[in-house]
Subunit: 350 residues, 2 copies
Amino acid sequence: MSAPDSATGLHYRDAGVDVDAADAAIEQAKDAIRSTFGPRVLADVGLFGGLFSAAGLAKDPVLVATTDGVGTKVRIAAAVGRYDSVGHDIVHHCINDALVQGAEPLFFLDYVGVGRLDPGVVAALIRGCAAACKAHGVALLGGETAEMPGLYPPGEFDLVGTLVGVVEREHLLDGGRVRAGDRLLGLASSGLHTNGYSLARRIVEERLRWSYADPFPDMGGRSVADVLLEPHRCYLETLRPLLRLPALHAMAHITGSGVPGNLPRVLRGMGARVSRAAVPGSPLFTTLVQAGGVEREEAWRSFNMGVGMILVVDPGAVRELQAALRASGATAFEMGHVDAGLVEEVAWLD
Amino acid sequence: MSAPDSATGLHYRDAGVDVDAADAAIEQAKDAIRSTFGPRVLADVGLFGGLFSAAGLAKDPVLVATTDGVGTKVRIAAAVGRYDSVGHDIVHHCINDALVQGAEPLFFLDYVGVGRLDPGVVAALIRGCAAACKAHGVALLGGETAEMPGLYPPGEFDLVGTLVGVVEREHLLDGGRVRAGDRLLGLASSGLHTNGYSLARRIVEERLRWSYADPFPDMGGRSVADVLLEPHRCYLETLRPLLRLPALHAMAHITGSGVPGNLPRVLRGMGARVSRAAVPGSPLFTTLVQAGGVEREEAWRSFNMGVGMILVVDPGAVRELQAALRASGATAFEMGHVDAGLVEEVAWLD
């Protein structure tokens, strides 16, 4: 324990920073972190950098690295005091971002920024990340918790993740295989994933004036919090069997800016024609769009609208891939094609 | 441009999120980002994950990964509207964290969280990261800018970085070589680096009641902002020539919790006896400690107090290493030794 304050002498904790609380959080999460370590992790928690053996990862390895946050979904988590699920969100988001380049995830690092560090809350956030890492074979190799008084509102936090994966260079998906006429296969999202939350929160809180404990209509009796905090779906296990198929030309992870903002990123300058009617609807999106009076175009730029991942595939392989995806339990739907007459844009078929 | 608002329909930007502003920020920083790309970077800005060829990095490569923030130093940067230097801070901090395990830095990813996205500000932050990356041979491989209304105060931001480096496994510094009696060689810091800012800001703003434009006494006419925003020193070039010397047993980067919190992390359960008088003083620390009435023990746990990096070295090699460090322009000072009679703690010699 620290010595008692003198009449005038400042201690670090007087400035709102409690180093002991940070240590306590790590202590509470340590076993969960260690449970993610495989044989490639060469050091325990506590060194300045996490150590990961990259020996023999691939013949010609390409590292794929991505960093992201979960947006203002964290504000709902803080509002309802549910701290485990956002860890899954950020890990899944990052895994998907690496996956669309063809990569298997290797390791993950978390960053938690808080105004006042509650060890139980931070430990829960880290344990959520660890559980998601463990479930998908990813090492939680490092992290940082920063107590920054005044920067974050009381009780709120930001959660950032970085993931590194690896892909054999010959299996890299960088858009190079995409051809005009390629078909688009969509995979269903599990909800808003991690995008559009500032708009969704405004609709729920100001237009609908719902409490987060209220049931969300037509969503199987789940509460508003349950529906909005549903973790970002991870597509790793669904898509792993397809990664080395020559018929899989590219993949787009549908995150911020929706289908129009993400699909063209992998089309090498071409565009796509997309059927919105082909994407299975959900009362979640219908309710938000109607209650917010959100125009259709704006809705598709703000939310994923039901599609979390789009595969760009050889036209001759659509049936086979769709069958394989459905056999693995995924909801896969054909939703359009690549069009060389369009430049980096999505044109709607309906 | 977006369509005008209807009387009742919500747009994403009504919720405080302007996707065009994020795109504009990246556009302004793109050339700076690209300027950091070497031949191992396999894709341009804009894919879901950055691509880095790891072919032939080492015979038995160990990846070293670290993530960190710059603490409430960002609040001073925001207060005075100086957005370039904190990019250097976070890149240097991460390079040093990897360096103490013996690693050369490979690539870096940034995360900027803001309440309202000003493209010029975010571009300046990213360009600062890019300039620091370029100066030290690091690829700025990816990043994310998140506009999170209400989570950050107007005009303020958080800046997080993640760095991956590589070290040949036989040259890994993980504390395993440390022996009782090893000597400690300190390297001077350039200022507060990135720790202790919540306390320092409180002293400057509430005790001293200085404006950030005021001159900081006895600091060569530099302003309070200049002194407090002085970038975290990067030790890469100074220490690179020493990394494979058998006499270099370990290194500790002096960050949060100061010498007592960081030095024991690399001593494999032993402790160290440290001379505080051996560390060259600075009017920066003297002024903050006096004005804040900060007790000596607390000061050394809150600030680096003038020592940014500590090398743990073979006793027979002290003179030679010190001479080599001084020849490279570094201020190196002998400041104590490893003591097997202490358990994971620092005992002061004076």
